[in-house]
């Protein structure tokens, strides 16, 4: 079974469980609190995933490894290379 089929199967299983509780398809007569908690679940999980994504991106931006000396060194090397090429006749 391919990975895609596995994921689709899992999502389908969870979807059926959610629909059973939200729309009372089997007439299980669960306490109403189950229905109250179940019906916003898909949207809640999406918002949760969105929050996790924003937090991960923000954290990795804040802890990114800048190399300031290497950047300055690179800029001076670029300037040197341009001066050298101009001297040799290349039009920049």
């Amino acid at each position: 079974m391919t990975k895609l089929l596995e994921w689709v199967f899992c999502v389908l299983l969870l979807g059926v469980a959610w629909a059973l509780v939200t729309f009372d398809l089997l007439d299980l007569r669960l306490p109403p609190i189950y229905k109250e908690l179940a019906w916003p679940m898909p949207v809640y999980l999406l918002v949760l995933f969105g929050c996790y994504s924003i937090a991960t991106i923000g954290y990795r931006v804040a802890t990114f490894n800048d190399c300031e000396e290497a950047a300055k060194e690179l800029q001076t090397q670029i300037a040197e290379a341009k001066a050298d090429l101009r001297k040799k006749g290349l039009k920049l």
Binding site: P40, T63, F64
Partner: protein
């Protein structure tokens, strides 16, 4: 480590996502277990909005993304046609 504004922006995003997560979790998961006459209900809209508002936000986001793609595609084609 990243510098100045990068760090501030990154930590700002983290803080925003924590706030959003806390408010939304209390709204969706904790409030149904709290008595209806507790003061905390004053700070939250009726529970239907906990599904409607993210839905509207998702639609607005898709609108922005679509408009952005449209504008960029149009700008990349029109200089050719002017010549």
């Amino acid at each position: 480590m990243a510098t100045g504004t990068d760090q501030a922006a990154g930590m700002g995003l983290v803080g925003f996502s924590i706030l959003l997560f806390t408010y939304y979790t209390i709204w969706v998961i904790i409030l149904p277990f709290v008595d209806n006459d507790h003061l905390i209900h004053k700070y939250f809209l009726p529970r239907e909005y906990s599904v409607i508002l993210p839905g509207v936000a998702a639609l607005v986001l898709l609108l922005f993304i679509g408009t952005f793609i449209g504008v960029v595609t149009w700008k990349s084609h029109s200089p050719q046609k002017v010549d």
